[in-house]
């Protein structure tokens, strides 16, 4: 009894179950999620590419959209595609903030 109580898995049962459920739900429909993942990866790649373009100035500390608009207002022709992407995608920090947003400076 005592050993069973001590197990970490006991206290996190719910979380584990829900994860399993997700996996179970995902497993029967592999093709659309894989496609989603592929496009998301492609989008992410473009955004990171935009972050790394030195012509548009430093990217830390400001959002991607702010950086895009600064470049636009200084006549640097940032790719329109990036702006559309940023406006379409949900406001998750991995989309709206730059590549280095997790690193404190």
């Amino acid at each position: 009894m005592t050993t069973k109580r001590g197990l970490i898995t006991d206290s996190f049962k719910v979380a584990k179950k829900s994860k399993k459920r997700e996996k179970q739900e995902k497993s029967p429909t592999p093709t659309p999620s894989q496609q989603d993942a592929a496009t998301a990866e492609e989008e992410m790649r473009k955004l990171k590419q935009f972050d790394l373009d030195w012509r548009f100035g430093p990217c830390t500390g400001i959002s991607r959209l702010q950086r895009w608009e600064r470049a636009k207002s200084h006549g640097l022709d940032p790719p329109e595609e990036i702006r559309e992407l940023l406006l379409e995608t949900p406001a998750y920090p991995e989309y709206s903030l730059s590549l280095w947003s997790d690193y404190p400076f």
């Binding site: 100035g57 430093p58 830390t60 500390g61």
Partner: protein, 471 residues
């Protein structure tokens, strides 16, 4: 100046019977056509989680096209404008970039922390330049050391310039010539039918231990409000259509460091030195705003934010005078159009800072230099506190002012500068009132400026002890 007016009349109106038993003559002060242009100096959101790289990037982005045009104008349309990364050794070309001056004496907090040898803190100096300083030009990606025909001591960090020359084998760039952005375009100023004046004063220094500046200040207030001199001078005072106080309304001595160093239980009941000084200022402003529109800019020692652009002082500090619509509390780089004449200026921090980090001595010369660089405060954010802007650099001059001033100078100075495209700019260094007892009057019609001195019974200068307005 107003004495001339009174001299023209037949005799003084003081030493004779009043003309009638009723009220004396009334001198109407006509309010100027006024619009404030300080929107670019207001800081909306205050996020300090950014690095200063943005402001330099935005500055270079904005200045690059301007300087490329200037370079083509100066060195011919087919001059090669290169980025530093495309630079080839020995090739004559032009580079646009931001200057950086590496200075050994520049105070650095990192140096003080890292050198753990119990070093004494570096003494405060008046100049931080040495012979060992090096000039470096930076663009977006790289930097290169400069030598040749460029005055190292005169240049300051942060100014964006275009240089012409070639890179030598040792990796240094030999400058043959350089150019700055020059004056921006100017909207012509309308012709005024009559003389109108704007009074500029700075460094009132209220709350200082020395009270001898108070008489001069009271004389200034009385002169502006028309309570001084005879009818001629009162009529002259009515042509002062606006008063502009350019910073340091409070004295440096109100900023005692006691409150932060002493324990709390000792300072609990003491009042901050600024409280009395602000009350005094409020009472003085009350006399002014009842008669004339007043713009109040904050300065280095005033109770507002320290970093440029300084935001306007809060209305709640002036319970008496803020009831008047004529009191206008404005930001520190200040821009306004008064009767079609564009004013732009600061309380002097930018000029004082450049003075410390360059060989230039005169405030007037520095003022002219910043106008040529098309930038109000090139040394911000390097040695001058500044808000971390990211979208644009508000200190770049977009439009050429007609009157370009800086406050808290050691002495009065003015100069009319003509630009290459017919611009006409009056440079004014507004003297510190508490030490010089001098304010200055700018004539909006002729764009001339003259000092007004209120030396009251000064012990050392007998000639100027006449209590009235002298030139």
């Amino acid at each position: 100046m107003f004495s001339d007016l009174s001299a023209q009349r037949d005799g003084s109106s003081l030493l004779r019977r009043p003309a009638s038993e009723e009220q004396g003559p009334v001198f109407e002060r006509s309010p100027p056509d006024y619009s404030l242009c300080t929107a670019r100096y207001s800081v909306g959101e205050r996020s300090f989680s950014r690095q200063y790289a943005h402001i330099y990037a935005a500055r270079l982005m904005e200045m690059r096209p301007l300087l490329s045009d200037k370079a083509k104008h100066k060195w011919g349309p087919d001059v090669r404008i290169r980025k530093l990364c495309d630079l080839e050794t020995g090739e004559q070309c032009c580079i646009v970039g931001t200057l950086f001056k590496r200075m050994d004496l520049q105070p650095s907090i990192l140096k003080e922390i890292s050198e753990e040898h119990n070093l004494l803190p570096q003494p405060a100096r008046t100049k931080y330049i040495t012979e060992a300083d090096e000039l470096v030009l930076e663009d977006e990606l790289q930097r290169i050391k400069l030598e040749g025909k460029i005055d190292r001591d005169k240049c300051v960090t942060g100014s964006v310039i275009a240089i012409y020359g070639a890179e030598k084998n040792d990796g240094k760039f030999t400058v043959e010539d350089f150019c700055t952005a020059g004056l921006p375009s100017q909207t012509p100023r309308p012709a005024l039918s009559s003389d109108k004046f704007v009074l500029l004063a700075s460094g009132l220094g209220l709350g200082s231990s020395r009270a001898d500046s108070m008489l001069g200040l009271q004389l200034l207030v009385d002169m502006v409000t028309g309570q001084l001199g005879d009818e001629g001078e009162q009529g002259g005072a009515a042509t002062i259509s606006r008063v502009l106080l350019a910073g340091n309304l409070l004295s440096q001595s109100t900023q005692d460091k006691d409150a932060s160093t002493k324990p709390k239980y000792l300072t609990k009941k003491t009042q901050a030195g600024t409280v009395d000084a602000i009350r005094l200022l409020d009472e003085m402003l009350l006399q002014l705003v009842a008669s004339v529109p007043v713009d109040v800019m904050p300065g280095q020692y005033d109770p507002t934010n320290y970093t440029l652009p300084q935001q306007p002082l809060h209305r709640c500090m002036f319970p008496l005078s803020s009831a008047y619509p004529t009191l206008q509390l404005v930001s520190n780089p200040y821009g306004a159009t008064i009767d079609g004449v564009r004013f732009l200026g600061t309380s002097g921090q930018n000029v004082c800072d450049i003075r410390k980090y360059s060989s230039m001595e005169s405030h007037l010369e520095i003022l002219e230099e910043t106008l040529g660089l098309r930038h109000l405060a090139p040394t911000a954010p390097d040695t001058l506190g500044c808000y971390p802007f990211y979208h644009r650099d508000p200190f770049i001059l977009e439009e050429c002012p007609h009157v370009y001033f800086s406050g808290n100078a050691p002495a009065f100075g003015s100069k009319l500068v003509a630009g290459s495209d017919g611009q006409e700019v009056l440079l004014v260094t507004v003297p510190d009132f508490s030490s010089t007892q001098t304010a200055c009057l700018v004539n909006l019609r002729t764009l001339q400026c003259e000092p007004v001195s209120f030396s009251a019974f000064s012990a050392d200068e007998d000639e100027e002890s006449e209590m009235n307005i002298s030139h």
